[in-house]
Amino acid sequence: MNTASFQNPNAFESPKPFEPFDDSPLAGVMTTARLLRAYLAEARFECLRMFRVLGFSIPFLVLPAALYLLFGVVLFGDAVRSDPATGKFLFAAFAVFGVMGPGMFGFGATIATEREQGLLTLKRALPAPAGSYLLAKLLMTMLFAFVVMATMIPAALLLGHLPLTFAQCARVTAINVLGSLPFCAIGLFIGTRVSGKAAIAFVNLIYVPMMHVSGLFYPLPKFLRAISPLWPSYHLQQLVFAAMGMTFYGKSAVHLAVLATVTAVLTALSIRRLARIG
């Protein structure tokens, strides 16, 4: 066996030999720079791959701005022009809607599927840096949220004639990008508990009622208004209102605390489950 090689059946070029492995005492030691590169590579390929899944990226990236333009410009353009508060309400509604989807579906459905497909087990067996898999998904969702805002803000300024200052635009973007975290946590919680097929159903079971019962798109009747603070989207929307200088219910600090608590508790429960069961 002196021509040891591993040949692709489609390729006939002469193979190169394997290099000997690293036998130094530092063989298992990563420099900080390399460790950082590993985290970045995981995030980069996660983003690349989710942008390439057109069934995921097109609806979640294009739909919020498209729906905002349909309602805020085409259908109710006249009402928005006479009352800018209506325009801001619609903008806030579709901006929050835009960050809910990537977080819940990007985490929930993909983690459930990848768990089933053995990918998480492989990552655990490989020396993937601690938490890189979840961190990559988190960054992917935040990037999606950023792109959603980057499409909605020009649409709102140029076509929706919304009177937003640069500072307000920056604040709304920052709040929405960070505001995707509690939805990631909900998705993660579902994705670590159910199968891939069931995850989509479970995510929808929360996503659809949350959209409507949290008062995202229209003022709720009084009896429903009492339960709207149960949904994270309600709190995020109030923060978006605050960032745009609109009147809002409650206190910003309370809304922030609710969103942070949802994120921390659900993430902790999910990580515990992943560590124990995988």
């Binding site: 040949q7 193979p15 298992g28 390439r52 492989l122 067996a125 490989l126």
Partner: protein, 296 residues
């Protein structure tokens, strides 16, 4: 002391509910060997490998990788893994999958180098989802070797490969072992284990029932096979002492016996024109069947 072994299970017990998966198992993987872990379904092979990789924790006993806990990432940075049942992202290209796994290691090959070695370069830009089953295995193999690991865990590596690709993979494994790497192979292809292994462990019901070189395992089965062309009748030979079975395969007789020397002497005495005499020991497959049946 654990450090002389690259991977080690000592006195490991593992239960899943009422099922005892491993019952006090001891296994050691040394430097520069291809070690095959064999056993029927449910014997505990996957559990043993999962414990060595830190995917499971033992109920009692200890698992060590390079003398350390396999739950730590440092020893796992010297390990490459190829799993049987894993689906990788179909949207990522071959080179991207390899670059990602290479990024986990301290001093890996570049993805170009890794693909050049495994002759995967022509497929570098192809999305993983568009590859054939065999090509996917080749990508997974490249992922397993791209970190320049000391120790490789390969679970059924040649499933789905055509004959040429499989032989090429075998050659690659032999070269890795010659370079000083060790390989832990779990396979159902006994022919694969027989062809590649320096050492074999046979598990059954969570226990080690035999271990040693392929020849040592084969020698555990005393039965040998004699084959010859003779005019003697099969039923006549079947009545001789120590003869277990006799079958006629066209002109040749196939005799199974636990005392080949005595039977050969008697055959030569009974038929002076006897030709094409061959005596061979039981193969690994036969030894495996016998060992696991005895233990059942």
């Amino acid at each position: 002391m654990g450090n002389e072994y690259w991977a080690e299970l000592s006195g490991v017990k593992k239960r899943f509910g009422k099922i005892v998966a491993l019952d006090g198992l001891d296994l050691q993987v040394r430097r520069g060997e291809l070690f095959s872990v064999l056993g029927p379904n449910g014997a505990g092979k996957s559990t043993a490998v999962s414990l060595m990789l830190g995917l499971l924790r033992p109920d009692s006993g200890a698992a060590r990788l390079f003398g350390k806990s396999p739950l730590l990432v440092e020893p796992r940075r010297q390990v490459g893994v190829m799993m049987q049942e894993v689906t990788l992202a179909p949207e990522l290209r071959v080179r991207e999958h390899i670059a990602l796994v290479a990024s986990y290691y301290p001093r890996p090959l570049t993805h170009e180098e890794a693909m050049a070695i495994t002759n995967l370069s022509p497929l570098a830009a192809r999305p993983y989802g568009k590859l054939s089953a065999g090509q996917k295995r080749q990508v997974q193999f490249t992922m397993a070797v791209c970190g320049r690991p000391k120790l490789l865990f390969l679970d059924e590596p040649s499933v789905g490969l055509d004959v040429r690709a499989r032989e090429a993979m075998w050659a690659a494994l032999r070269q890795l072992v010659r370079n000083g790497s060790s390989i832990v192979l779990t396979t159902h292809y006994l022919e694969e284990a027989e062809s590649l292994s320096n050492r074999v462990a046979v598990l059954n019901k969570g226990r080690l029932i035999a271990s040693g070189t392929v020849n040592e395992i084969r020698a555990l089965v005393v039965r040998k096979h004699i084959s010859c062309s003779t005019v003697l009748a099969a039923d006549q030979i079947a009545a001789w002492p120590d003869v277990e079975s006799v079958t006629r395969d066209q002109q040749r007789l196939q005799i199974s016996t636990s005392n080949s020397e005595a039977v050969v002497r008697r055959l030569l005495a009974a038929d002076s024109n006897l030709q094409e005499l061959e005596v061979r020991r039981a193969g690994l497959a036969e030894a495996f069947t016998e060992l696991t049946q005895e233990a059942a």
